[in-house]
Amino acid sequence: MSSIDTHRTIDTIWRMESAKLIASLTRILRDVGDAEDLAQEALVIALERWPKIGIPDNPGAWLMTTAKRRAVDLIRRRKVRDQKYVEIAHGMDLYKEDHVDDALNGEIDDDLLRLIFMTCHPVLSQDARVALTLRLLCGITTNEIARSFLVAESTIAQRVVRAKRILRSKKVAFEVLTGKQRKERLSDVLEVIYLMFNEGYSATSGDQWIRPLLCQEALRLGRVLSEVTPNEPEVYGLVALMEIQSSRLKTRIGPKGEPVLLMDQNRANWDRLLIRRGLAALKYSKKLDSTLGPYALQAAISACHAEAPTAAETDWIRIAALYEALSRVAPSPIVELNRAVAISMAFGPSFGLQIVDKLSAEPSLKGYHLLHSVRGDLLVKLGRFDEARTEFERSAAMTQNAREKMLLRNRANECES
């Protein structure tokens, strides 16, 4: 293997192992910043040694052992002679390379969960949670995060540094939560993952309609989370939602990069494997709790589309009922807007328009471009083209996404003829 190949392999192994390394080190050091630094040090040592000695049989364990030794050194240097030190020094006997995995496997799941709880902690801003989670749990570089969110690399780097500082100063604990607190914090975690997914699924700004990297990372993280929390119905609900939505990712974009809406997509190109996975996750979520939570309900809605052989055969009455249920467990003007669309498809545009008109007074939807495009759409169906054009123009002026803007302008122009 040439040294370039070796470096590439090391980089890959790092991406595969870094979350586990950082999670385990955080348990020892109780500080996510120190943990990341030490994990990086282990990487530097690997970069130095592996080209000479070859890549070890169990590279993850090698990195873990190396990092743990550093952790012990660090603690010694800091002369912390508390219980933690004794425990680790004691544990060192276990860390023979072959045995590290066995010794740690039971713990690593919990450590990963603790780390997710930490990076999605409510003391952090939403932006910081997303950046820190992508970096520490997905092994995504600062540069890749910056590219995904169209901001400068230095902005993301600062965001991550600041987030780690806040976690330290607020003494955020590295813990597996229970009861009500676990439920609440898990919902924060799901929110971060779904936010990440959504930004990839329909980018709020820039001139690309979708950013596949974010969708992939969010889905992968969701899958990882479902493995470490096998009894949480909403985790499976979110995974189901993301699997099914991802099945359409490639049909959401036309040959020129333009958005293609759900009803116009070529269903033959939907990814059947992901649909199957999504439906299985949804079934499992229902098995865990027959009362569907917000994510499972959204997944059930998404499943209705996935199961319809053609757009015309969509079961809109069922979708309208599911939105009704969703508006009860997680009421929001956006859910209401979606319900309006479903109602109009099930029972006619005038019924949908009634709901949309009520929403127009909603202050939180002021400036929300989709309110206007939905209204425009309903007006077109009712033959009120002049009003429809105004709505599409308004909507186009509001969106920050260049591709979507173009689509909406076209729709406005179509109202002329």
Partner: protein
């Protein structure tokens, strides 16, 4: 990107000889590890070729020829597959390396093959160009 880890058939797999408990355990652990990393998409084992048929078209435009299994040359046959979704070719190779020897008696062979992603967005030259342009802007601090 998706890769298929293809496990080749062996004389044992063709004779429906079940793997040893040890090998079975190693396979389970490996696939659990894949699932925990969020990369496992699908997996299945195939019945021996004696349960299969082959359809071939020896004459251009002619009628198909149907042959019942079993087929010879175990190494050219497939005994199972594991489908993974990973970030890079290197990651796929690394996972394939970790696959346990699927036979244990000298005939083990696995093959790693990338799946075609015709609509793969990263292969769209226009989007790639846009990306490069965007990167240039991001690297230029004056435009920040």
């Amino acid at each position: 990107m998706r890769f298929m880890i293809i496990v080749k058939a062996t004389t044992d797999s063709e004779k429906r000889v079940m793997p040893s408990e040890e090998l079975y355990g190693a396979m389970q652990r490996y696939h659990e590890e894949l699932a925990k990393a969020g990369v496992l998409i699908d997996r299945s084992g195939l019945q021996p070729s004696s349960s299969g048929i082959r359809i071939s078209y020896p004459e251009p435009g002619g009628k198909p020829k149907v042959i019942d299994g079993p087929f010879t040359e175990a190494k050219e046959l497939i005994a199972g597959y594991t489908l993974i979704e990973v970030k890079s070719r290197e990651e796929a190779i690394e996972w394939a390396h970790r696959y346990p020897d699927p036979h244990g008696f000298g005939q083990g062979e696995i093959e790693l093959r990338p799946l075609y992603e015709a609509e793969d967005l990263t292969m769209n030259p226009e989007l790639l160009e846009k990306d490069a342009e965007l990167n240039k802007q991001l690297e230029d601090p004056k435009k920040e």
